[in-house]
Amino acid sequence: MAGRTYAYYPGCALHGTAREYDVSARLVCQTLNVKLQEIKDWSCCGASSAASLSPLLGIALPAHNLKLAAAMELPITTPCAMCSYRLKTAAHELKDEATARQVSEVLGSAVGPEVTVEPLLQVLSEDLSFPIRKPLTGLKVACYYGCLLVRPKSVLQFDDEENPQTMDRLITALGAEAIDWGLKTECCGAGLPLARPDLVHRLAYRIISLAQRLGADCIATACPMCQSNLDIHQKEIEAEHGEKLGLPIFYFTQLLGLALGFTPRELYLHKHLTNPLPLLRAKGLG
């Protein structure tokens, strides 16, 4: 990991709602000497909207980006779970000859399946000996992976589908405590907050409240959709359930950044709607 260079694919959300993920990812990568070269003029992976309406479009859009990365001769890394899922799925599907033929017809030139894609979580947990300045002692974290980082294992080949451990190990290496819980890979509603906020609220409530009941101080995520689904709607969920939640939702890169010595402001922690600063102050981390 350290010293290696990656073709960086931030994904659309990291230029918008998830700026803090982009910022914190770049900061920690710099500190850990993981070089990120943003793919020039990358385009959207199509997310689930493209794939679910047209399988071919769902492969062609990410394949276009695989092609850009192939030209850079670098492995791709992306912080976004959806993007890594789409890119990896496309690379996987391209192993099928008929698909590869269709896709190359669409893109005007052939793309091989051989471009490797690693989610940033995977890249950053290859070596857990971090130069820690401020251990996150006393912080209880529920690591939340969501769906697309691990499912389906047959394609993604990353971590256990039901009880993944990669983020837990990383968080533990930072001095924090990762709690064992059963909703690590439960879906939070993915891309539907605009169309069906009611649905997202229910799913998010189930996840947040379990983490809280089991004693977590916060949730760590590795996906801009997970983070925003769990973070942004908490006020509304609280109103619907008449229950105080206020559980801070971090990107794992922000927790890593804190342990590496960056300030909450540098890590854009003030961008979250559920304010994490009181928790950090209470734990002596703020």
Partner: protein, 666 residues
């Protein structure tokens, strides 16, 4: 030259409906050496057989071709028929014009008829070159071996012993009883498992005709029906059985405690132990992997530096009759037996493969067999059902069916047969133990086909008030003290969630460890899962495909106790049918070496799967191959291996096969 008779069978409309019998008969008339042709509606019937016999006598036939069904069906029948008419039974050839012809070409009658004629032509050409063959009588050992001491093996052993034949019962564990010994009460009658099992176990131990070898395993098997030679490894208990009085001081005082296998980790046992109080034999064994003194000895032997582990030897010091014997070592016994019953039973599916059920990390998610131990008065909690995590009494209990059954994702397409019933039983027992318990049973189908079984399910629903929910569970996770269980009530079409105190996984049944390896050493077939394969699933359900080896119980397929007992008895009868014969008859269709052509390369010996090729020195000092006729199975591997055309199979000689091929081209 021989006079050949051809008999063409209609097999009702099975053959005649497709093959034109008259044309076949007309063609047969013209075949060389054929002096008589006739047809039969059913050749195998009494009338048909009589007609064949009469024709042989009247027409002075010397060879017979019967064009009918597969020789697998009736070759034996027709051999008897021709023998009754005074012919050598091996001067018969069957042309299979049913399975190989009418059944597979029913849509093209002309082609089927043409093929039938060709098959008859080949048979005629072959039978002309048949020679009379003679069987030999061979002796047999009138003793049986039973492998596995669960209820199936116990039943088989007792039945054979009671019929007056000596039996060796080999059991891998320190005690017999198998899984049934772990059960509390048994469906559908709810009689207590040990109350009906223990007397049988004691009977085994005391039976004058039974040699019981526990803590022992079959290492290798050689030979053939009537004359097997078995190597049995008797593992060292380190306890002298002739001295031990089963007083129990050793296992009470042994300081080393480990989770007891018999209680599936729900309680401890000592390093010197008997699995349960009613064990048979009730002689303790020292578990070498955990005994402190053994560890000490190993440490000393390694010559390592550092602090020596304690010598312990407490059992030895306290044993009143001085029965501890550190010198005892593993022994290999060699036994001759005439028949073998395989009853190696089952183990339950490893549920930790299910990540969605917690992969074993939630202590209050237990298995059905663990619940049996909790329910049992002689179990680790003396019959108190408590949660492993905190010892409290569970009130809401969820049962999850088909864990490792009917699940292709786990490579288990089959149904485990007993789980529906034992879940109902356990729901009834839980209610008896604590009227406040509410059981929820998630099922896909309720399989209750046995006698009194459906009524038993009703009892669980009506008396024990178990709630049956049709749907598979998708997820179990811990929420504080509760386990959240997510399923669908597929009858309502709505997701359901139950906050349970205890979850019981009905883990399915799979063959016990080592079943495949044992089957390989016995040379019997097993399926992809390791279940033993029957000679015929309907008509020969307790015979293996290897003569003299019989099967019983859950080693064949998941089954309940009544089924296992029935199979144990059935296998005993089949084995007795071998043992009670005065002698065995050898099959004369075996390989034979032409001593003049054999060059002594022994390619045949390497090809033979049955060790049937020996060597012999001829009078002129040449070393050549010779076939041990009692071992030869007539498979013909050696014939194709032999480059010098020195090897032949009687009844299938190279000349005969060539004649068949030539007939086709003529």
């Amino acid at each position: 030259m021989a006079r050949i008779g051809v008999f063409v069978c209609h097999c009702g409309s099975n053959i005649a409906g497709t093959v034109n019998i008259a044309q076949v008969m007309a063609a047969a008339q013209t075949m060389p050496l054929v002096t008589f042709v006739a047809d039969n509606k059913y050749s195998c019937s009494e009338i048909g057989q009589t007609a064949i016999r009469e024709a042989i006598l009247k027409q002075k036939l010397e060879r017979v071709v019967i064009a009918a069904c597969s020789p697998q069906m009736h070759e034996a029948t027709f051999r008897k028929t021709v023998a009754q008419a005074g012919l050598n039974p091996y001067l018969l050839e069957i042309a299979n014009i049913r399975e190989h012809c009418s059944w597979v070409h029913s849509n093209d009658k002309a082609a089927a008829t043409k093929k039938a004629i060709e098959l008859v032509k080949m048979a005629v050409a072959k039978v002309a070159r048949h020679e009379a063959l003679f069987t030999k009588e061979i002796g047999l050992t009138k003793k049986a071996l039973v492998i596995g001491g669960g209820i199936s093996g116990i039943q088989a052993a007792l039945d054979m012993a009671n019929a007056g034949y000596p039996v060796i019962l080999v059991e891998r564990e320190p005690t017999i009883g198998g899984r049934m010994a772990q059960l509390d009460k048994t469906f559908p009658t709810l009689d207590c498992s040990s109350c009906i099992l223990t007397p049988k176990m004691v009977e085994v131990a005391q039976h004058p005709n039974i040699t019981l070898l526990t803590y022992a395993e079959v290492k290798s098997v050689r030979g053939f029906v009537g004359n097997f030679e078995v190597e049995i490894l008797q593992r060292a208990r380190k306890v002298d059985a002739s001295k031990c009085t089963s007083c129990g001081i050793c296992w009470q005082k042994c300081p080393e405690k480990i989770p007891a296998e018999f209680n599936l980790g729900l309680g401890p046992r000592a390093a010197i132990y008997t699995p349960f109080p009613q064990a048979v034999p009730n002689i303790p064994s020292i578990d070498l992997a955990h005994c402190r003194y053994i560890k000490y000895q190993e440490f000393v032997a390694r010559g390592e530096e550092g602090k020596k582990p304690p010598q312990c030897r407490i059992c030895e010091r306290l044993c009143p009759p001085q029965a501890i014997d550190w010198e005892q070592s593993d022994q290999v016994l060699v036994e001759k037996v005439g028949a073998i019953v395989v009853a190696t039973g089952y183990q339950t599916f490893d549920h930790t493969r299910y990540g969605e059920f917690g992969a074993g990390r939630y202590p209050d998610v237990i298995t059905g067999i663990q619940l049996e131990r909790l329910l049992s008065a002689s179990g680790p909690t003396e019959g108190e059902v408590v949660r492993p995590s905190d010892g409290t009494h569970p009130k809401t209990v969820v049962f999850v069916s088909c864990v490792g059954s009917r699940d292709e994702r786990m490579g288990r397409a089959y149904c485990s047969n007993v789980c529906c019933m034992y879940m109902a039983k356990q729901a009834i027992l839980l209610k008896e133990h604590d009227p406040e318990v509410q059981s929820y049973i998630f099922y896909i189908d309720i399989r209750a086909g046995g006698k009194g079984y459906e009524e038993f399910i009703r009892r669980a629903q009506e008396e024990a008030r178990a709630i049956y929910l049709r749907g598979r569970i998708s997820h179990i996770y811990q929420d504080g003290k509760k386990l959240i269980v997510r399923g669908e009530d597929s009858l309502l079409g709505r997701p359901v969630e139950i906050a349970a105190d205890l979850v019981v996984l009905a883990t399915g049944i799979e063959p016990s460890a080592g079943a495949k390896e044992l089957a390989q050493s016995l040379n019997i077939s097993y399926d992809a899962h390791g279940f033993m394969v029957e000679a015929h699933p309907k008509l020969r359900p307790v015979e293996s495909r290897t003569e003299g080896i019989f099967l019983a119980g859950t080693a064949i397929a998941p089954n309940d106790i009544p089924g296992c007992v029935a199979q144990g008895s059935a296998a005993a009868v089949k084995a007795l049918a071998v043992l009670s014969r005065p002698s065995l008859v050898s099959d004369p269709m075996v390989a034979i070496v032409d001593p003049l052509r054999c060059t002594g390369c022994f390619a045949c010996q390497r090809a033979c799967a049955f060790n049937a090729i020996d060597s012999q020195v001829t009078r002129d000092g040449k070393t050549i191959a010779v076939v041990n006729e009692s071992l030869c199975k007539g498979c013909g591997l050696c014939v194709s291996a032999c480059r010098g055309v020195a090897m032949n199979l009687k009844g299938f000689s190279q000349q005969q096969l060539l004649a068949e091929v030539n007939a086709l081209w003529r």
